[in-house]
């Protein structure tokens, strides 16, 4: 296990270096002069050459690419992602401050999705080809089809229209300050993300359950006189869950990507909002920092999935 883990972690390094390279080269790929674009938009042209030079240095454009790459990487290793062009604040600090809302929304969405999708998938498989199965499957496909920003918009307009109820809180409160207020803020966006997630997980759950139901050990379990529900729960569900857990891990990327949408709809100061605001202001160090952070988070999640695989399935460990 340790050897497998070590190999897997070392294997991540080249990918990480490529990701870092993409992040560093980003500012150089902007067509035209990025410095002109930013100076024009911030309307600080008066300072002239000095401002240009300062900006070039800030973006690492005053040195050749390999040098600024090495500088950026060593900065990252020290936990330094540079400074915002806008208010000179350290990017690392901004990212860390915006991380908790995004992660808690993702966590709540995953919990909601598990609670809903597992029973739906099992029911759909056990009652295969009945009207209930068709209904659940159609709803699941609809859930996958509707983009999260449409669901989010619906979450905002319909309660407001019908009950005069606003789900958008304009002041963010952290969980430590006031758990109830925090959950009130977290739950609507989490529910929006959970809908798409539930739909895709329920579909996989159904497929896996159907596969498991035809296995010999299910027949054996039934033959030795276990009750129907014990067979389904103990023998069926447990075996069907492994790929479902993998899917949940993979969907983490979907949740983080979705945060850009939900956080802008529900006015939540998370990582997604930070990215959007930075893009509006062309604050490249922040864009770079957020992109890198998200990429690393997704890579770490993939590592966790692989580890859980190795833990659950000895064949992977010893391969």
């Amino acid at each position: 296990m340790t050897r497998y883990l070590a190999r897997r972690v070392v294997g991540m390094i080249p990918t990480l270096l490529v990701l870092l390279f993409m992040v560093v080269v980003m500012v150089r790929l902007v067509p035209g002069s990025i410095v002109d674009i930013i100076l024009e938009e911030t309307a600080s042209g008066a300072e002239g050459e000095a401002a240009r030079a300062a900006l070039e240095e800030r973006l690492g454009l005053d040195r050749p690419l390999p040098v600024s790459y090495v500088n950026y990487v060593t900065g990252v290793l020290r936990g330094d992602l540079g400074q915002s062009l806008w208010d000179q604040s350290p990017v690392t600090e901004q990212v860390l401050r915006r991380l908790p809302p995004t992660l808690s929304i993702a966590a709540v969405a995953i919990v909601m999705a598990i609670v809903l999708s597992v029973p739906i998938g099992v029911l759909s498989a056990v009652r295969r080809d009945t009207w209930l199965d068709y209904l659940l499957r159609s709803v699941a496909i609809a859930g996958i089809s509707v983009p999260s920003f449409v669901i989010g918009t619906a979450f905002v307009i319909f309660p407001a229209l019908w009950f005069g109820l606003s789900l958008v809180q304009f002041r963010y409160v952290s969980f430590v300050e006031d758990p109830v207020a925090n959950l009130k803020i977290i739950i609507p966006p989490a529910a929006v993300l959970a809908i798409g997630l539930t739909a895709s997980v329920a579909r996989l759950m159904r497929t896996m359950m159907l596969e498991v139901l035809t296995q010999d050990y299910m027949r054996t379990a039934r033959a030795k006189g276990l009750t129907g529900s014990t067979v389904i729960m103990r023998h069926g569900l447990k075996n069907a869950m492994i790929p479902v857990i993998t899917l949940l891990g993979l969907q983490f990327a979907f949740l983080i990507g979705g945060s850009v949408i939900t956080e802008s709809i529900f006015a939540i100061p998370g990582l997604g909002r930070l990215l959007i605001d930075a893009l509006r202001q062309r604050d490249y160090p922040i864009i770079q920092g957020v992109v890198l952070t998200i990429g690393v988070m997704v890579m770490l999640t993939n590592l966790l999935i692989d580890m859980s695989y190795a833990y659950l399935d000895p064949r992977v460990r010893f391969a």
Binding site: I157, G258, G295
Partner: protein, 303 residues
């Protein structure tokens, strides 16, 4: 249909060929519709979407960008079947022209992604070794970014607008589908006919272009059809955030963007009508893609 086949049989051989091809196409389509009713519904939605996009100039009752303040925020009525938005623009015309933008983006990004996906996937599978390793680490790095984040990063480089959005979308798609091309290409390369070609002295590029590429087309078509719906959603999401197709161009996602939400009490139709249209179209495209996958390549089921 039976009558057609009989006349076909009585005709000269040449006509028989075309006739039976047509009837074969019809019967295949019919069988597809019978076996995959939801897929057929999806196909119908897709056909309507494409026709709407092609005929947008003809069927749209008004100019989609001309404003008319005196007619702003009308509910659906006989003059404006889907009502008007906050600038008095006809919603139906905007939806119809929005279909054209969705199709431009969907088709453009799909086509643009196929060549790089092929190039990455086929060469990676063909040369194997350290080349494959290096290329796959790049693919890994790109894949580590969730779709929308990657799009935003590319738009941060290129800027907004129709062409930049198409390029940005095709970039992500190319890397995603290159994985599937690579998998398929590995299988093809292990085939005897590739060895045969090699022993006859075929060059690497000839083997790749003449033997491998044609044989990985089936999975590419399936992946492209499944990706089409995702591309439409991605464009709409990006435009919704304000970084995609820029107003006044009528993108469906843009129609739901921030400022429209300010009118949700006065005129909810300016939100729910585009939302419903978008949901229906993506539903249709997904259903069609699902059915197509089941028919063309059952191995990809569940992916």
């Amino acid at each position: 249909m039976a009558v057609e086949q009989q006349t076909g049989a009585a005709a000269p051989p040449l006509r028989l060929g075309t006739d039976s091809r047509l009837s074969r196409f019809l019967s295949t389509t019919w069988r597809f519709a019978r076996r995959k009713p939801l897929g057929a519904v999806g196909a119908a939605i897709l056909v309507i979407l494409v026709l709407t996009a092609i005929l947008a100039d003809v069927i749209a009752p008004y100019d989609p960008v001309v404003q008319s303040q005196s007619e702003a925020l009308q509910s659906p009525n006989s003059r404006h079947l889907a009502g008007t938005d906050q600038f008095g623009r006809d919603m139906l015309s905007r939806l119809i022209h929005g279909a054209r933008i969705s199709i431009y983006v969907g088709v453009g990004a799909t086509i643009l992604s196929i060549v790089p996906a092929m190039a990455i996937g086929v060469t990676s599978a063909f040369f194997k070794g350290s080349y494959d390793y290096g290329i796959q680490r790049i693919v890994d790095a790109v894949q580590a970014l969730p779709g929308l984040i990657l799009l935003i990063a590319i738009v941060a480089i290129l800027g907004t607008g129709l062409w930049n959005v198409i390029v940005a979308l095709s970039f992500g798609r190319a890397f995603a589908s290159s994985r599937i091309v690579r998998g398929a290409a590995f299988q093809v390369i292990s085939m005897d006919y590739v060895d045969a070609a090699r022993s006859l002295g075929a060059t690497n590029s000839r083997i790749m272009l003449r033997h491998v590429v044609p044989n990985v087309f089936a999975p590419i078509i399936v992946v492209a059809s499944l990706g089409f719906g995702q591309i439409i959603i991605a464009e709409a999401s990006l435009s919704f955030l304000g970084f995609g197709i820029q107003p006044p161009a009528p993108s469906w996602g843009g129609m739901l963007a921030g400022e429209a939400r300010a009118y949700m009490y006065a005129a909810p139709h300016i939100l729910w009508i585009p939302a419903l249209t978008l949901g229906l179209v993506v539903f249709g495209v997904n259903m069609f893609g699902d059915a197509l996958r089941d028919v063309l390549d059952p191995r990809l089921r569940g992916s």
